[in-house]
């Protein structure tokens, strides 16, 4: 053990601990079991279950091990006749309200033979029929304490089960009120959906007015499922494991830049049982979300049949072996000239897949290498930085995040697109650090805070300048860099009044927000892709850069996919280009510039080239029209690596292999093999080399001179006068197109899962309730959104977080129209009720 060490004795054994550790943690790290049902790793103790009481020499009372910190020379006794008796009587209280026939059954050891008779317990129920059987912490503790009887008569609480929600079910009659779910929901996830309700014998876990989790705004992150020691909180639709072997397959979730390590569980026959977070860098409840654990499961379940390679010949589709399909592909590719071949990687491909495709392009000497990147986020950022000779930061370590004293989120919903950052920031925020969110749209991370600045859509620059105007005079940091006087000069020419009217923010709101930004130094500013996915993004960035510099703050983008960072690196070294919509590509196909196309993944493309190869886990969308279809393994088998928000390259833990797992080629493996047939040997970097690529210093030298950027002249400000506010015709809305990451390999989660549709439906159009009422629109009503580019059919959904005159849609980009609207980011639309 490196670093300072505390020496103590547990049960007469000399052990070492890190200062600050609890006795429970220390005992555990030395393999000493202390029963505990309410502790949560890394969180302040709750000390509610009283099962972890230990004796400490010299202390008059027994103390909960979860709450007591180790001290030099401490002598701890974790087990004795007396302690176990005390624990037993404590546990009996819980057991008197928990179905306990199975727990106390003297025939437990023979249960497998006896249970067939069904007469073992007087009533059905108990562990025998419980999904948690065999994997239950309450069972373990009962076992350890050898509880044989319960002094109180069993009392069934007879409470109603919660079964209305997708993915999560709650049986309050199994709840032992350990409080873990409540704490993980508020203290770790910052959702605060659950609470103890009632008192005394009536106490239960509940939500606001006992609403369903969906109505209580639960994010379905699943953390509560992870911590519940009983089956009181259970994931729905999980295959029972009883008696069957379970195989685990760790993988890196490809769905967002948090790159959580998840674990897929299969039962013997190779059927997917569940997907859950893996405890790798911390406890499992600190990673994973609805998308990764439930959405992905539903997508994979919807694709029951494993896809076969297919080759089209004479218009007919023929199943083929991978070898045959690859041979056909190699033969076909050889027929085209290098400049006629295009290669496209979609947004969710693995890092090795992307690198392999780039290498293949190089080997073919094809100069049309694209990545499909509808956000275009880092492209714009890079362009801006190059033009202005500045450089924003790209990623921070955990420690660096915690150094922040004030956090400012601009157009980013960390809970949805940067969870790994959010989980670090939340304890700071709830601990009282300054916290401000600027976002005209929906933002889960702005709930439960009174510092949500909602400017008019597209008026972020005005809001930021309104803040900057206040800060220039108030901030005490000496940030007098080059250009400061010019900045002061331009700012003084901007009328505060006008900035307020344009941004839709009141002076008092801006004052308060400025005070928050100044409340702690250093400040950390995180901005999302929506700040740049709008017409006047340069002005937004200029204002943000100046604000950051004035505050001496760290300013960085939140990329929603870690791959973006790798793309950025690749672009510097290879001929990779990004395409944000299919237009240019379609045109190149139409006029014959590109005749053969290799698509890795899926993308919406209206124009089919002469020859099309699609490599994707599922035969969907574009793959339907391909001449050759090569099935990739899914992300479960790909293993990684993935690049995360902290800029690290993450590999999944050792893969044990799924049952019946013939060794299938990885995404990159297929490309390497194809290259082999074309006579080239591809060499991909190992994950260590990949880490080196990621770590390469980039952009400007660190000794670059910091400088303020000149402000655009007032009439160049974003959207100035474009939407004069009072003259809005009824039914006209400014639409913000949000980010929707709820899809995998071309399949939208909402499309295959009714549960997911209840959570985040890409067909929802969010409106302000009062405005909807004034337009005579109800929740659930179907409407047509008319836009200059085309019409969308959507369903009304209400949120008080939406301002009047604004609508939010979170489209899945499965058509060129949606892609186009997404690219615009902001547009005007009219609502028509569908008759």
């Amino acid at each position: 053990m490196s670093g300072p060490v505390v020496r103590l004795k547990i049960n007469d054994r000399l052990v070492q601990a890190r200062p600050g550790m609890t006795v429970l943690e220390c005992a555990r790290s030395h393999g000493i079991f202390i029963p505990s049902l309410c502790d949560l790793e890394g969180l302040p103790a709750f000390a509610g279950c009283r099962l972890c009481l230990v004796e400490i020499a010299g202390r008059p009372h027994r103390l909960p091990a979860c709450q007591t910190r180790v001290e030099e020379g401490m002598e701890v006794i974790t087990t004795s006749e007396e302690l176990e008796a005390l624990r037993r009587s404590t546990l009996e209280l819980s057991l008197s309200e928990h179905p306990n026939f199975c727990l106390l059954c003297q025939e437990k050891a023979n249960c497998d033979e006896l249970k067939m008779t069904m007469v073992k317990a007087l009533e059905p129920g108990g562990c025998l029929f419980c999904p948690k059987d065999g994997n239950c912490q309450l069972q373990q503790v009962v076992e350890y304490l050898k509880v044989k009887q319960v002094a109180y008569e069993f009392e069934d609480r007879g409470l109603r089960l919660w079964q209305d929600d997708p993915f999560i079910a709650h049986n309050p009659n199994l709840c032992i009120l350990c409080g873990r779910c409540v704490r993980v929901c508020s203290e770790v996830r910052g959702e605060k959906v659950l609470s103890f309700i009632g008192r005394g014998s009536q106490t239960a876990i509940g939500t606001f007015f006992q609403r369903s989790l969906l109505q209580a705004d639960c994010s379905f992150c699943g953390a509560c499922l992870e911590v519940c020691p009983t089956a009181a909180l259970e994931e729905k639709g999980v295959l029972v494991a009883r008696g069957r072997q379970i195989y685990e397959q760790p993988f890196i979730c490809p769905l967002c830049s948090s790159a959580c390590e998840l674990r897929a569980e299969f039962v013997e026959e190779g059927k997917l049982r569940r997907i859950g977070p893996a405890p790798v860098e911390g406890p499992a409840f600190r990673s994973g979300c609805a998308r990764g654990r439930f959405g992905l499961r539903e997508v994979l379940e919807a694709q029951l049949t494993r896809s076969m390679p297919l080759v089209k010949g004479n218009g007919l589709e023929q199943p083929a072996s991978l070898e045959e399909a690859l041979a056909a592909a190699a033969a076909a590719l050889k027929k085209f000239k290098p400049q006629e071949i295009g290669l496209v990687a979609s947004a969710q491909v693995s890092a090795p897949g992307l690198l392999a495709l780039a290498e293949l392009a190089g080997a073919l000497k094809a100069d049309n290498l694209f990545s499909f990147y509808p956000e275009g986020f880092l492209d714009r950022l890079n362009e801006f930085e190059r033009q202005n000779g500045i450089r924003f930061e790209r990623s921070l370590t955990r420690q660096q995040l915690h150094q922040g004293q004030t956090f400012f989120l601009v157009d980013t919903d960390l809970k949805a697109e940067g969870l790994a950052y959010w989980l670090e920031l939340w304890p700071e925020i709830s601990g009282g650090a300054g916290y401000l969110v600027l976002d005209p749209g929906l933002n889960r991370s702005a709930r439960l805070t009174d510092h949500h600045l909602q400017c008019r859509p597209g008026k972020e620059a005005q809001a930021l300048l309104g803040l900057l105007k206040r800060l220039t005079w108030q901030a005490s940091e000496l940030s007098f860099y080059h250009g400061y006087h010019e900045l002061l000069d331009s700012l003084s020419k901007l009328s505060a009044e006008e900035l307020q009217v344009e941004s839709g923010l009141r002076a008092a709101e801006l004052d308060k927000a400025a005070a928050v930004l100044l409340s702690g130094h250093p400040a950390l500013i995180l901005f999302g892709e929506r700040l740049l996915r709008q017409p006047r993004w340069r002005e937004n960035l200029t204002a943000l850069w100046n604000l950051g510099l004035r505050l001496e703050a760290r300013v960085l983008p939140v990329v929603s996919r870690g791959q973006e960072r790798l793309l950025e690196k690749l672009k510097l070294s290879s001929g990779l280009r990004t395409i944000s919509d299919g237009l240019q590509l379609e045109q190149d196909i139409r006029n014959g510039k590109i005749r053969a196309l290799y698509v890795l993944g899926d993308l919406p493309l209206a124009q089919k080239p002469d020859w099309l190869l699609v490599q994707n886990p599922f035969k969907t969308g574009l793959a339907e029209r391909a001449d050759i279809f090569l099935p990739s393994v899914s992300c479960l088998e790909n293993g990684g690596p993935g690049v995360d928000l902290f800029g690290r390259v993450k590999m999944a833990s050792k893969i044990r292999g799924s049952p019946g797992g013939e060794n299938r080629l990885s995404e990159a493996g297929i490309i390497i093999k194809l290259a082999g047939l074309l006579g080239v040997e591809l060499k991909l970097p190992s994950s260590a080399e990949l880490q080196d690529i990621m770590a390469e210093p980039e952009g400007l030298k660190s000794d670059q001179e910091l400088t303020y950027l000149p402000l655009p002249s007032p009439d160049r400000l974003p959207g100035r006068g474009i939407f004069p506010q009072p003259e809005r015709t009824a039914g006209e809305v400014e639409v913000i197109v949000g980010q929707n990451l709820d899809f995998y390999a071309g399949i939208s989660m909402a499309e295959v899962s009714s549960g997911f549709r209840g959570l985040n439906n890409p067909d929802w159009l969010w409106l302000n309730p009062a405005e909807a009422a004034s337009l005579d629109l109800r929740e659930g009503q179907q409407v047509i959104l008319k836009t200059a580019d085309g019409d969308l059919s959507l369903e009304i959904r209400l949120s008080r977080q939406i301002q009047p005159g604004v609508a939010v849609v979170n489209l899945i980009l499965d058509t060129s129209l949606k892609l186009r609207l997404y690219g615009r980011g902001l547009f005007k639309g009219k609502l028509r009720v569908t008759s």
């Binding site: 959906v193 609470s195 009632g198 008192r199 509940g206 939500t207 606001f208 007015f209 209580a216 009174d450």
Partner: protein, 159 residues
Amino acid sequence: MMKNEPNLKDRLERLVASIPAGRSHLILFLHRVQQEFGYLPEEALARAAEYFTVSPAEVYGVVTFYSAFQMKPRPQHELVVCHGTACHVHGAEAIHTELARLLGVEPGKEDQGKDVTIRRVNCLGCCALAPVVVVDGEYQGRVTRNSLEKIVERLSGKK
């Protein structure tokens, strides 16, 4: 609730304005709301969560923790039917059923959103007067079918 009480929002806002936004004032605020409305409307709890930046679930937890807080409007009239032994012998059950019939309240269900509740108690300790019904706190002894009708008439008049 909102529909029946158009000024609920304004009354709430007045209360909000009278109390500083610190978390520690949450309970005081809830008390004031209950004083003002006689119960805690859902809107008030949602507003409290917003104003004190506490989660709605926490507010609900607090409210259900203290039995003094009530989340349903108290009915305007309360009838208590004694079911003690003496009253039982004198036909308390029939009286209960009849009262319920006259008032159009489902027996046994105490809160139907009507402005009347009928409660059953085990014994009021005035067995000499059996059968006993308490009307808005007023004891009525030796009730008969006739006097029941009068009671109900009076209540409807009072409404």
